[in-house]
Symmetry: C2
Subunit: 346 residues, 2 copies
DNA sequence: GTTAGCACTCCCCTAATTCGAGTGCTAACA
DNA sequence: TGTTAGCACTCGAATTAGGGGAGTGCTAAC
């Protein structure tokens, strides 16, 4: 049997998927035969559908029910779709501006907008500072027993920490440390700052005082990004109740838990970001999904990139009969939304 | 009719509530008659239950079903309970330490612990800095066009912001501003820092340069707490699926949405914190609840207070047949959990 | 290759039935 | 007067039975 699909089979598959998306119910041959640009009778459709079932693109929940698309069917549909839409998404990557100050609020808003636009659940990760560099470091004395360390990176992210001292530190030492830190760390990408580097700094400091060591360690901790603690904002988790096939209690409960916990989502995103050089769109359908509790869903993720190597991910989680086209369009409209959001700030 | 309850009626009511908490199903006279320290037949119980129904402490979902406690019944039960337990909670207030650095993580954990201990949904608000004072302010130049403002309060909360400048600012001006800020704002409670004060500072600065004005405004913004943006961490929202009376789709969806959005929760907490001088426990039962979507629930909130006037709220949201005793105990055990958490950090 | 026709399948919906927990009432008893 | 046993009655929940109908697969004709 030819594994290749002729034009008509494709059209029929597309019609099945589209109809199923709308109704959420198995679609029969008669429904499809009425489809606009397909002037054949239901019997013909039945024959074709039988073929499509054999090839695995659609399945029958039970004899004498209509057909619903299989994961494989969705996959074909999405792949065809992507061909047309891929380039449109490319723009999203470059549109976000590093206004990291109120970033969390903006991202929360983004998640909300996405969720309400699409009627699916949405998630947005805080961009990871991959490749950003140290621009400015300063230690200041708050009181005799406390320093505050402030680090600014070249994408204007501020990190800081209070350092409690066991013994006092004189002004001269602080000055010296500031100089040392700035001359050695300025312009250094933060992921290059590791224990070895800190050890070398300690040596250069030429002092064996434990206070200095403490301070340097604290500074290192301040700078270094805890890779595990990826923040994720979600919204619209309850949208899943709109899709009966996801909304039964046990499934819904698991799904929403997964959303609430975010840990698994974070893992997914991490994998997605590291696994491929892919900065565009990915779609996980059903069994392709690494998160078990989401095997009944589809997930569309898009990587975005702010200036200077900050990467984040936007994702939509919905039922397999997700309206993939609409999702893609929403990601586009998101661009507009973001533009507005960022414009409304100084 | 006497509105007062005799000892036996109380016992029966208590038994009904306890049994209903466990099973979640209307409880009948026979069940209660088997209750340990109550040696009467089911017929007698029926008579008493009939009385209790008339008095409004319990209701019958339909004729020939058992009885379930009414809001009024729960209220009585809780009030009785509180008498015994009130003092035990008082301790919680003073137990949290202002380790505000990793505060968000701790609070997230707290929410999680509470949720899993109680099997209800939990929420924790970030403490509001009411009454904390400015301890340290510093402006530093990051590059010719950028300053970074760092403010430390006396409970070691750091706030900071990058200030973009239209024109350069010389070192001398920065030094002058730092001096001005510290001499004028040190020790001042942050809620006292308002526009008038900033205006006076601008005057004192003795310069009419718009740059100075910009910087001062930015500093003010950095310091001032946006009262509306109360952060709330929630956990265990999906626990509501464990209680059939809350788990039907529309209710569950609304409830979880309310949890996700947090806005209404924030309003509730705000009201609760301002409305009374009450720093202990409050319990909202059913119709007493200001949030409409939560009218089928009960909510237990407790205010905690960190050193130096930072107040936050912990809350448990569950079904009306919530195990109030257990919740109270959990709040106690929370104290231990927190102690450990805080000890494990330097 | 397409189509009409037809028997057959199997889920879904509704109605009817049964089942049983629980009540309210009455009458008898201490 | 309060307590208890007994009993008829009620009403929701669970079960069963039976159309109804959408949809299929197959066959035969075009």
């Amino acid at each position: 049997m030819d594994t290749r699909l002729d034009e008509r089979k494709k059209k029929i598959l597309k019609a099945i998927i589209r109809t199923y998306m709308e109704t959420g119910e198995p679609v029969g041959s008669r429904t499809i035969s009425k489809y606009a640009d397909l002037n054949v009778s239901s019997a013909t459709i039945r024959n074709e559908m039988s073929d499509l079932t054999d090839m695995g693109y659609i399945v029958q929940p039970h004899t004498s029910a209509g057909r619903i698309p299989s994961d494989k069917g969705y996959r074909l549909y999405v792949d065809e779709l992507m061909k047309e839409k891929e380039e449109e998404i490319a723009e999203i990557r470059d549109l976000m501006i590093a206004q990291t100050d109120k970033m969390d609020k903006i991202l929360k808003k983004v998640a909300k907008v996405l969720a309400s636009n699409t009627n699916y659940a949405a998630m947005v990760t805080v961009p990871q500072y991959s490749g950003s560099k140290v621009k400015f470091i300063q230690l200041s004395r708050v009181n005799p027993q406390q320093l505050v360390a402030v680090v600014v990176t070249d994408n204007n992210v501020i990190r800081n920490q209070i350092i409690e001292l066991d013994e006092e530190m004189d002004d001269e030492t602080i000055l010296k440390l500031n100089l040392l830190l700035n001359t050695n760390l300025n312009g250094v990408p933060i992921q290059d700052i590791n224990l070895g580097m800190i050890a070398r700094l300690k040596e250069q400091a030429g002092m064996h005082s434990s206070v200095v060591a403490t301070v340097l360690d604290a500074v290192a901790a301040t700078i270094s990004v805890d890779r595990d603690d990826m923040e994720i904002y979600t919204s619209g988790a309850t949208n899943i109740f709109k899709y009966p096939e996801l909304a039964d209690k046990s499934k819904a409960s698991e799904l929403i838990s997964a959303f609430e916990e975010k840990q698994e989502l974070a893992d997914l995103v991490k994998e997605h970001m590291s696994d491929s050089e892919n900065t565009g769109l990915s779609v996980y359908i059903g069994e392709e999904m690494p998160i078990k509790t989401m095997r009944d869903c589809s997930v569309v993720t898009a990587t975005y990139e702010l200036g200077k190597g900050m990467k984040g991910t936007i994702g939509i989680i919905g039922p397999k009969r997700m309206d993939y086209e609409n999702v893609v369009d929403s990601l586009k409209s998101l661009k507009v939304q973001l533009d507005n959001l960022l414009k409304n700030k100084t």
